[in-house]
Amino acid sequence: MSEITPEQIAEHGLSEDEYQQVLAILGRAPNLTELGIFSVMWSEHCSYKSSKKWLKTLPTEAPWVICGPGENAGIIDIGDGHAIIFKMESHNHPSFIEPYQGAATGVGGIMRDVFTMGARPIANLNALRFGRPEHAKTKHLVSGVVAGIAGYGNCMGVPTVGGECEFHSSYDGNILVNAMTVGLAEADNIFYSAAAGIGNSVVYVGSKTGRDGIHGATMASTEFSEDSEAKRPTVQVGDPFTEKLLLEACLELMATDAIVAIQDMGAAGLTSSSFEMASKGGVGIDMDLDMVPQREENMTAYEMMLSESQERMLMVLKPGREDEARVIFEKWELDFAIVGKLTDSKHMVLRHKGEIVADLPIDPLAEASPEYDRPWVETPKAAEISIDDVAAPNDPMAVLAKLVSCPDLASKRWIWEQYDHMVMADTVQRPGGDAAVVRIHGTGKAIAATSDCSPRYCFADPFEGGKQVVAEAWRNLNAVGAKPLAITDNMNFGNPERPEIMGQFVGCVKGIGEACTALDFPVVSGNVSLYNETNGQGILPTPTIGGVGLMADVTRHAVAAFTGEGQDIVLIGDTLGHLGQSLYLREIEGREEGAPPPVNLAAERKNGDFVRELIEEGRINQCHDISGGGLGVALAEMAMAGGIGADIIVPDNAPALHAWLFGEDQARYVVVTDGAEATIDAAAKAGITANKIGVTGGLKLTVEGIGTISVTDLQNGHEGWLPEYMSSP
């Protein structure tokens, strides 16, 4: 074999130090196949080498957590023998290069992560961030990403029930596509990836291996430049039909006890799945690549090990159970091949055409992957912006109409109507509310799921922003009446080799950790996507949080729509009128400035628990959390969702009107009740601020003494923006 050149090392994204480490581990120079394996295993994407040090600080435990980070997905116990398995994962780089396939395979990958553990996916969500609407590429990317998510999720028959979509210039060259899957499993039938049983068969199932996606993981670990288009061949191609068959076949086999361990082939394909299974189990694998089902002719060992062809799984079966498993996979018309055996060598030995083409020690490669303590600098605090520094609007109702139709707040119906959000027939709250609600099939309970992030807050103050993203997910779950249980975090940042970017990462992690601890809302799974930069321009720090909560009685849930006339509207929480980093400041004044609203976690907890208990007790059934755009937008959203207006009276002690209406103070909810007094009394007893601010009814939203606007006018702008934008030339 020819010698490895410095160019090849550089092409594989390994630093000089890392290559020296390779030489030390092997005691010799690697061949090309081995170099390729090192390169993907040690890529940022697979090794978390820049982020590990900080991720380890996050709280990951609670009595209801069955399995925290480190497996394919996190697992929580929801009682009655049921477990919820969930995770969010990014597919940012591929989606920018090839939006349809990039987004589709992102959805396919996250679903595999969940069903490889024994869960049937019951809900998908996605968090999308695109560049400015006026950017030349944005429309094409929105169109392709949404179609790709729809194409994959719809065919799988898993409802896509929620998510978010925002636009900002920092994503012009690096869009974010974060996909989340929530699955349901039996708590006593969960599957892990640790291989065990020397001599047991290693079995490959699913699609054949082709040359697609080679080096996808390495691509996801570098910055973009103008020539990124040339990376199109490294984007994988999805086949949701095959994945649907793979799902059914895996679940059918999992109903038996034939499987010892199972792992999906995601990033870095056969390499990472086989190394991970062997490493976790402390065993070796002897694999014959001639047995790998191949889609193309003359594939090399290098290509097979690095391919990211989709819809594939690797598993270890109990002795003598191969035929039983084969029958199931053949029934589903899928490939089934015994490709190797477990050994006690703790080495990965790969054979191809009768020769040993790689012989690598597993632990040093999998566990001794580099871990960096990257230099970081704390993000300087942004100046507070006082209410007096922000001009008051002449026509607050016109401002409200403008806000509800701005790109970030406009209805995303155009997107979610392309997703089948009702298949499986258990969707209780469809997209568009605070959180989606999905019934646990055949029971009277339900889970709620949400995805949230406020990148503008995280940019201005990573620590407070980190707290806020968790608090926001917590609020959205409480607002529908679900007890928040756990989160998955999808950390999207720029280049970690720049200390100011690393500082954003560190600040956000610290904030997330503090909020998770205060709210008993641990992190059970996650994903890190770094190097979201093009030509040195990084994205806003975007730690997307996927939250899951439980509703013991699905009939006791709240909607974010006004549903009746003449009911009292009560504002829960303190309103100081914080305008720094608000959408009002950005959309109306054109200023992206100031410190974000501070997050008082004790108040979040108290107010959230209070509101949820009102819903659980059946005392309210309409509730909405207050977030971007403030109270005014929250009220408008409730009116638009229900087609019912309201008369609002500004309390005497309110701050300046524009701050009261559009300030983004945290820990607040709007609830609707038949008698405000009981709610206000209960709040007072709990030490919570609650004020009646109006009454529902009519077809107009009126702020007494200020102005009025018809609900239809609000709806027209809110519903109109995205379809008009997408159909404009």
């Binding site: 179609a147 719809n154 649907k244 392309q418 089948d420 009702m422 298949v423 027939a425």
Partner: protein, 230 residues
Amino acid sequence: MHASVIVFPGSNCDRDVKVALAASIGHEPDMIWHGDTDLPKTDLIVVPGGFSYGDYLRSGAMAAHSPIMREVVSRANAGVPVLGICNGFQILTEAGLLDGVLMRNAKLKFICRDVFLRVERTDTLFTSHYTQGQVIRIPIAHHDGNFETDKETLKRLEGDGLVAFRYCDQGGDLTIESNPNGSIASIAGIYNEKRTVLGMMPHPERLVDMLQGGTDGKPMFDGLVEALAA
């Protein structure tokens, strides 16, 4: 009463219709694998929605050639009622049990939302629990639901009263806006000549209990059970 639900590789509304049928019948239907060649004794066959064979080639085209479909066609010809929903409707047209074709939606996008349907006649096995001209709210979820026929076929469907449902607005009027996919004559579902086979794009099984947001689909299943439970 015994019902059979056909399951193809890629079917994904099979469980949903099973649940809806079981709620009306009182026991679960038989789930029949596409590779089987025989059907058990059955009073009703349901071809459910989904993406049979990934909708590759053309929606429903490959499933129509599955082994079980020969038996489904033969039972249908013998008078056993058949209900095809969404992909099931596409399969029934491909199998020749129903007229017309389902083309890509006029706006070329997948659409999932509630639509209003007008019940065109109530003297059938499927619609006896609705009222004449009733406007019902049922979800659609499809990419290829744009029903099309040639002029003669349309004339026959209309003349023989074979249109089961039409997309309409909340007041029952047929408008361009209320036709979600560009279907000819706003047709959402059609019968065969004897009105024993119904194909429809909307999903009645998705609105059969209040937690799903409505129950306008339930009368179809209740009506079938009443008519077929001997």
